[in-house]
Symmetry: D2
Subunit: 316 residues, 4 copies
Amino acid sequence: MTRPVLLDCDPGIDDMIAILTAVASPEVELVGVTTVGGNVGIDTTTRNALDVLALAGRADIPVARGADRPYLRTLDNRAESVHGGNGLGGVTLPTSGAGPVEATALELMVETVRAATEPVTLVATGPLTNVAHLFAVYPEVASRLARLVVMGGSIGAGNRTPAAEFNIWADPEAAYRVLTEPGLPRPVPTTLVGLDVTYRTAYRPDDLDRLRSAGTVAALCADALEYYLAAYRRDIGMDVVPLHDPLVMAEAIRPGLVTAEPAYVEVDTTVGPSRGNTLVDLRGVRNQPTAEVGVDVDVPSALEFITSRLENYARR
Amino acid sequence: MTRPVLLDCDPGIDDMIAILTAVASPEVELVGVTTVGGNVGIDTTTRNALDVLALAGRADIPVARGADRPYLRTLDNRAESVHGGNGLGGVTLPTSGAGPVEATALELMVETVRAATEPVTLVATGPLTNVAHLFAVYPEVASRLARLVVMGGSIGAGNRTPAAEFNIWADPEAAYRVLTEPGLPRPVPTTLVGLDVTYRTAYRPDDLDRLRSAGTVAALCADALEYYLAAYRRDIGMDVVPLHDPLVMAEAIRPGLVTAEPAYVEVDTTVGPSRGNTLVDLRGVRNQPTAEVGVDVDVPSALEFITSRLENYARR
Amino acid sequence: MTRPVLLDCDPGIDDMIAILTAVASPEVELVGVTTVGGNVGIDTTTRNALDVLALAGRADIPVARGADRPYLRTLDNRAESVHGGNGLGGVTLPTSGAGPVEATALELMVETVRAATEPVTLVATGPLTNVAHLFAVYPEVASRLARLVVMGGSIGAGNRTPAAEFNIWADPEAAYRVLTEPGLPRPVPTTLVGLDVTYRTAYRPDDLDRLRSAGTVAALCADALEYYLAAYRRDIGMDVVPLHDPLVMAEAIRPGLVTAEPAYVEVDTTVGPSRGNTLVDLRGVRNQPTAEVGVDVDVPSALEFITSRLENYARR
Amino acid sequence: MTRPVLLDCDPGIDDMIAILTAVASPEVELVGVTTVGGNVGIDTTTRNALDVLALAGRADIPVARGADRPYLRTLDNRAESVHGGNGLGGVTLPTSGAGPVEATALELMVETVRAATEPVTLVATGPLTNVAHLFAVYPEVASRLARLVVMGGSIGAGNRTPAAEFNIWADPEAAYRVLTEPGLPRPVPTTLVGLDVTYRTAYRPDDLDRLRSAGTVAALCADALEYYLAAYRRDIGMDVVPLHDPLVMAEAIRPGLVTAEPAYVEVDTTVGPSRGNTLVDLRGVRNQPTAEVGVDVDVPSALEFITSRLENYARR
Ligand SMILES: [Ca+2]
Ligand SMILES: [Ca+2]
Ligand SMILES: [Ca+2]
Ligand SMILES: [Ca+2]
């Protein structure tokens, strides 16, 4: 029996691969995609989500447009140099004939959760603005989620600043509202998968070669990741390309790929050098754990999982 | 022709009088009431809103329940000692047979604005949580408001802390989102009416005597204000009772009762002694004005306006 | 019997008049002047202090150079447009042959307090950096002060920002250390005289005429104040020139000119819009009073006091 | 030729071993010890410093009492449960007949640096309050230091909070003043040695056995460390005892034991969950490096260095 999954994302190269991984996985049904401004603006992330679904042959999955500005404060939070002008590493997808549904991201989330016959897993691979709106305006609906799996934060260093990972940094107040003060009637089982494990789940250049020989869809992924890889090489001298969002989706599809420990997570919302830091108190001395935080990952299994799902498109 | 008015409130004694003033004013039509936790909890403010409308003979006006926790951070933000356990100074109203509508406060706001044949004036006399949700989730809808009139803040001293007025202090992040970073497609004409003018718009004890002889509804108001007056006497030695929320409603009904000047308003969201302060830059040296801020009021006219409207109930 | 007075200042036009007022007052003996960066840099304020003392015929009073940067954070905290390039409104004083003593401002404060046969009154008319150093490094010495009289802050609006008065804004952490967390063995009787009373203690243009006819020193003061007046006219449309620092010195010389009330004072050190605000809790509900805060002033007496002292120079 | 070393500390077990290491090292001359409140109060840290020097046979080295409260804000910053009531793990040292010099810590620092015939190395193994005073009041003197070596901070997790190491947490504003805004005429070569390397420089239980058989002084160290080890076992399940302060002193004596990289260091002074965090930007993308930050250590060499110096006492 397939589990319903909702994806809130800001595609984005690795969001694209997360979408493709979900669609190609029989364990889950991707029941909707909501978009948020993040790596690039909301118009682009929405367009990209539609085009990626069309590429996957699932233009029927509803896409709803969400927030284009952070929950509280506006910052210059674009990351176009890493993701290319269209957010997809310069790869041009065929344009989907479909448009977003009329419902807002928040409305689609609410309708989907209410309509689902079993609890929905919400996967978030962008800034948490839409999810914060859900928690704030519809706490009872949020309480009915089966699970929330978030790509964000880190126990150690950040990537956007020395302290902060990009998704959390782009909207720290939303992350605070969701992770530190969820304020729901019932707690939602939450897994936070951060840079500590996503950076390790990385393709080497020859992994891209394998993708390139696995059909059109996988080859497009390889092209986009190649762009990403070049940015990593140029900016921080890495010669591998991490699969941040795909790993998080993989964990949502096959729980346990990431090893997580219960911890209290406090998101730093100060306007200072630690803005957007996720303080993870693994020992939970001070507060009760509020989430499971990824501390380890079976890297070969995770990479194989993602690659083989992308290869599925060649068999269709 | 009557103008449509939506009231977002946390009744509360002076919210009660604001509601009664609106219902008794032919210039406007009160098209909906949304509630927010503030002076007392959301269950009580919603119950009170329903009962006040029944008292006014308008149980048909829809009441929608809104947020019970602040936009970002939870604080102990109740003021029961001033407003009495039920928020109405111990006055017990007949219980309305009506309940709140199924829609949330946010949904009722959106539906009302969309359905209205002319632009709606939104009056806010509680913490701005619901209004912040409207601005954040439905910026296009918020942009269609005719006017936003807010009871909140002060140019000078606060009442909840040396720096902060209660409504803003109770949810500074919501106030920041609405007043400092509205982020709407089109600016909404906004008037901020703070303690500088509301404190001056105060009944003396003999004004209460006039109310007492003006029918059941006015007499109930007098009883509730008597309770309020006692609290003011006890806590800060004042022998008059300010009509914070009624003045703001009066200004919404008859624009110009309050003299306002354009100013940039920055809400302090730091976690420090100035949390909830509204910094009003009247000269607007640094930033373009974002609101009209009340600096003066024609006190006798304002009091007469409110009193005479409450007296209308005796003539029904 | 004369009381010893130490002045910590950043001349500055009104510091100049404060110095001249002190020297011309038989009730006190100005036993030393320490300088701080503020209106202009430390080199200029030190040079000005020396030159003003020479003008007053008291080049023998020791001047010690103090801090040129704030207690904690460096900001662009110069106010040259108001005070003129040399801080004295373009008035050029005869250059004193004297230089500063070798001791630092902190050392001179400590030596002076220790050597004095009766408790010293410390008057501060600039940012509180040096005073914070005294409180932090020599708490026992600070405890022996007879009184600390500070020009700074305001109960109402600021002048440097909507929230903050210049001296406090220029070094909020120093002010916090001195006023909010003094941490001394014994409390020092402290009077904070802010804009609420200093703005009212203002010369009208014809007051400057009286000064001009009262000898060289007073005429120089008139010239400098004329410059100041022009800045006030230009910037905020005022047609009077406030005597901030001279009033504070006058209060130190003749205690009671300013009416003060006990209050707890919390200096805002957040990095936000209220940075440098002085939160004055006159009712002291939350905390024990830590200072006397000026709330009123006998304006005619204060102006007459200052003017007549400046006229004393003509009689020498 | 011996290099002069000044130690600013809060003994404390590991400060004690740092002192003993310095005295037993022919490469340096310990020319003074200044104390600061930290692990325990200033009276105790001063008493302990005197007693440790007497134990080392060097009661002649001057000890000066420094700050007992942080640079800006007072917090409950004692760590008595880790260090025992007297800060030395319950080990009772013979009481030294000597007392502290009359000079304050700041005065002793200034005199020592001025009097030295070659540049002084300042080692700081407690909160940085005294050092901040030196930088703030005597920037020219601070500029003449040969080197500043600090035990504090971490690139990764903290020990006092998830974000902050104890010494920095105990006085973040002092650390900010010294590390982030030194404001000196000439930069002082600064090495920050944090938990990333000090935690790895740890004795195992059998290392304590070796100490126990190496004379009275080393045996006393073993006894004190045993107490410390028990605390680590109890609190965080570690079965080794790190030599935080001794490693920092060892690096000062034999530069290069710690591998350090240039980095910009920003101390978090917000009042939030990251207070006291040291943000180390190793790549220095945003700002010029301001310090060398320890990233690695030759653990066996470091442990052998410290142990062999403590064994020197048996040979005297
Ligand atoms: Ca993403
Ligand atoms: Ca209200
Ligand atoms: Ca001044
Ligand atoms: Ca130590």
